[in-house]
């Protein structure tokens, strides 16, 4: 397994958010993570990436079998865990300068600007990061950082929320390119808008109240969209 999350239990501000999460992501797979608002999807991604002020009560995160649970976020990123944040903070640094530094630490030799053009965000490069970016622009920029990082595991937190159709298509194309170059991809999505543009989805996981309640083939996506999460939650808890 590329990424294995084992029995992860975590809380934030005294509130238990992850209640024993198990999840596996295979090499060159694209998995979706779905679940109602507040289920803990963002928390899971952030805990895997090592960011945030979460208290970890138990469990492990393994990257290609190596336990990275104790590592600070930058070391996890250097080892190949990349995260596209749902809500990146404003950072007072020019986007171009940031990307230049990012390219250096990750040894990226491609043409960052052409990817920025493909995502329709090349006009943002001379601005400070996320200062006055629209929601969609921030998502696209986060995807651009993954291109430069070429991570072993790419975690994308709602890359298709608030993004126009053309944008979702461009993001999907880049996600597929990352996958074809060897990244494993975990995407948090609500309506599954991005799924329509991806040639293949391997597994869909559903998280409810801090647990993965079911993992299976892409037909789950259809069921979630038509029936909602409650049906799935019942099925899995009675199983």
């Amino acid at each position: 397994m590329r990424l294995r999350v084992e029995k992860l239990v975590a809380s934030v501000s005294g509130k238990l958010v992850l209640r024993g999460v198990d999840l596996e992501l295979g090499p060159r797979e694209i998995n979706l993570l779905m679940g109602p608002n507040g289920a803990g999807k963002t928390t899971l991604l952030r805990v895997v990436a090592g960011v945030g002020s979460y208290v970890i009560h138990g469990g492990r995160v393994l990257l290609d079998g190596e336990d990275v649970s104790g590592l600070p976020p930058h070391e996890r990123a250097r080892k190949g865990i990349g995260i596209a944040h749902q809500l990146p903070p404003r950072v007072s640094v020019k986007a171009r300068y940031f990307l230049e530094r990012l390219r250096k630490i990750h040894g990226f030799e491609g043409d960052v600007e052409s990817y920025a053009r493909a995502l329709g965000i090349d006009h943002l490069l001379d601005r400070d990061l996320f200062h006055g970016f629209s929601g969609g622009e921030a998502k696209k920029f986060e995807v651009l950082t993954l291109v430069v990082q070429k991570p072993r595991v790419a975690l994308l937190d709602e890359p298709d929320s608030g993004v126009d159709i053309e944008g979702v298509r461009a993001i999907a194309r880049i996600v597929e390119e990352l996958r074809s170059h060897g990244s494993s991809i975990l995407i948090v999505t609500h309506g599954g808008a991005i799924a329509r543009f991806l040639p293949r989805i391997d597994v869909v996981h559903v998280m409810v109240r801090g647990r993965i309640v079911c993992s299976g083939d892409p037909s789950i996506l259809e069921r979630v969209v038509s029936e909602g999460y409650s049906a799935l939650a019942k099925v899995s808890s009675s199983a």
Binding site: G50, V93, Y97, H106
Partner: protein, 405 residues
């Protein structure tokens, strides 16, 4: 007349910055007469190599001025620039050789502005005279360095830079000190002719016991442009400066930018003033200060509109310690109806969210801090020659690295 005014101003304190007792300093400079003037190739190796550390290769510069302590001056002007009529020499030499130089002395700055200008008139030695004739555009940077080598030196210089109508000069100056105890006063008067352009980049690296009092003013004629780009790298015990750009002509421009890093127990009082006299002239005062340890920093900005024009002040401080003090004091004053003057000021610190975001992308905490600091220091200036831009970029990289060590 000048001397008399100076004598009378010898006890006149500056309104800003800690006061310095010049009485003790005077004793050290009276009666001293040593002077050397020669080609840059005979300059002390150690002065040339420390200039290199500040990014300036004086021997390969198309024109250069180096002054060591008070009396030793080394210069060079490439044949090409000499043929164009570009001059670089000591102000003492210029005043002796060229009678017309006198009309530029104390015209942009009053000799009795304060005790520091007065003291320089009475006890100063040298300073550079740089002249670019009408219509001559010199894009490649010319360098001037003022270096203090001997402990206790009072380096008091009077610089004059004249950029005639339609000419251009990109002047890069570096000032630094080896000893831990010294005084530097630099009086600089800039004359920017019609449609002329002067970028004046000044990099300072001092030591803990050095007091620094630059006194600078520019007079800018119609359509002229004056860019003052100041970077303070090292600690000084105290630094106070408040350069003034007088936009005498119409459609003139001035950008006064200061980027300072304050560490240990430094007191820095910096900023700039733009006086809009000509119609449709524009000025900007921008300051960035990194405020660390127990340093204290005042960022001043002043715009005075005596005619229709525009101006903006932008002062920002990034506090890196809680013992330090930062204060921003922007001031705007309009004497006419149609001027548009604005200001913004901010004092903040590095937010945890920013650092964490960068860490999630693979930067260590130190790298993240230095990226944020570097981003904070960036002030875009248009139309800088690329070699100068690169030089400034490298210098700011140094500031950012040093601030996060």
């Amino acid at each position: 007349m000048l001397k008399e005014l100076a004598w009378r101003a010898l006890t006149k304190a500056s309104p800003y910055g800690p006061d310095i007792d010049l009485g003790k300093v005077a004793a050290s400079v009276i009666g001293e007469s040593r002077t050397v003037a020669s080609h840059i190739s005979s300059a002390p190796r150690e002065a040339l190599s420390s200039a290199k550390e500040l990014g300036l290769d004086l021997e390969s510069s198309p024109a250069t001025y180096l002054q060591v302590d008070r009396g030793d001056v080394y210069t060079a002007v490439s044949r090409r620039l000499a043929e164009l009529g570009v001059m670089v020499m000591s102000i003492e030499e210029a005043a002796a050789k060229l009678p017309w130089v006198e009309k530029y002395l104390w015209r942009a700055i009053l000799v009795d502005s304060d005790k520091y200008t007065a003291f320089t008139e009475l006890f100063g030695r040298h300073g550079y005279f740089i002249y670019v004739p009408r219509g001559t555009r010199v894009r490649e940077p010319i360098s001037a360095c003022l270096y203090i080598h001997r402990p206790g030196t009072a380096q008091l210089v009077h610089n004059i830079v004249v950029v005639e109508e339609g000419a251009e000069l990109n002047l890069v100056t570096a000032c630094w000190a080896m000893p831990t105890r010294a005084l530097h006063i630099g009086v600089s008067e800039f004359y920017v002719g019609k449609g002329a352009r002067l970028t004046f980049t000044m990099v300072h690296r001092w030591r803990e016991g050095v007091d620094v009092r630059p006194r600078a003013a520019a007079i800018v004629e119609d359509g002229g442009e004056f860019v003052n780009y100041y970077v303070h790298l090292g600690s000084a015990r105290s630094l106070q400066m408040f350069p003034t750009a007088i936009l005498r002509g119409s459609n003139a421009r001035a950008y006064l930018t200061s980027i300072v890093s304050a560490r240990s127990s430094s007191t820095l009082d910096i900023g700039g003033r733009v006086i809009i006299e000509g119609v449709d002239s524009r000025g900007e005062v921008a300051s960035r200060a990194l405020v660390a340890d127990s340093s204290r920093v005042w960022l001043r900005g002043e715009l005075v509109a005596k005619n229709v024009g525009r101006g903006h002040i932008d002062c920002k401080a990034l506090k890196l310690s809680s013992e330090s003090l930062a204060e921003a004091i922007p001031s705007i004053r309009s004497l006419v109806k149609e001027a548009m003057l604005t200001h913004e000021a901010a004092i903040g610190t590095i937010s945890r969210d920013e650092v964490e975001y960068l860490m999630s992308k693979g930067f260590s905490e130190n790298e993240a801090t230095s990226i944020i600091v570097r981003g904070f220091l960036e002030i875009g200036i248009e139309n800088m020659p690329s070699r100068l831009r690169n030089y400034i970029d490298r210098t700011l990289d140094q500031v950012a690295r040093a601030a996060t060590l």
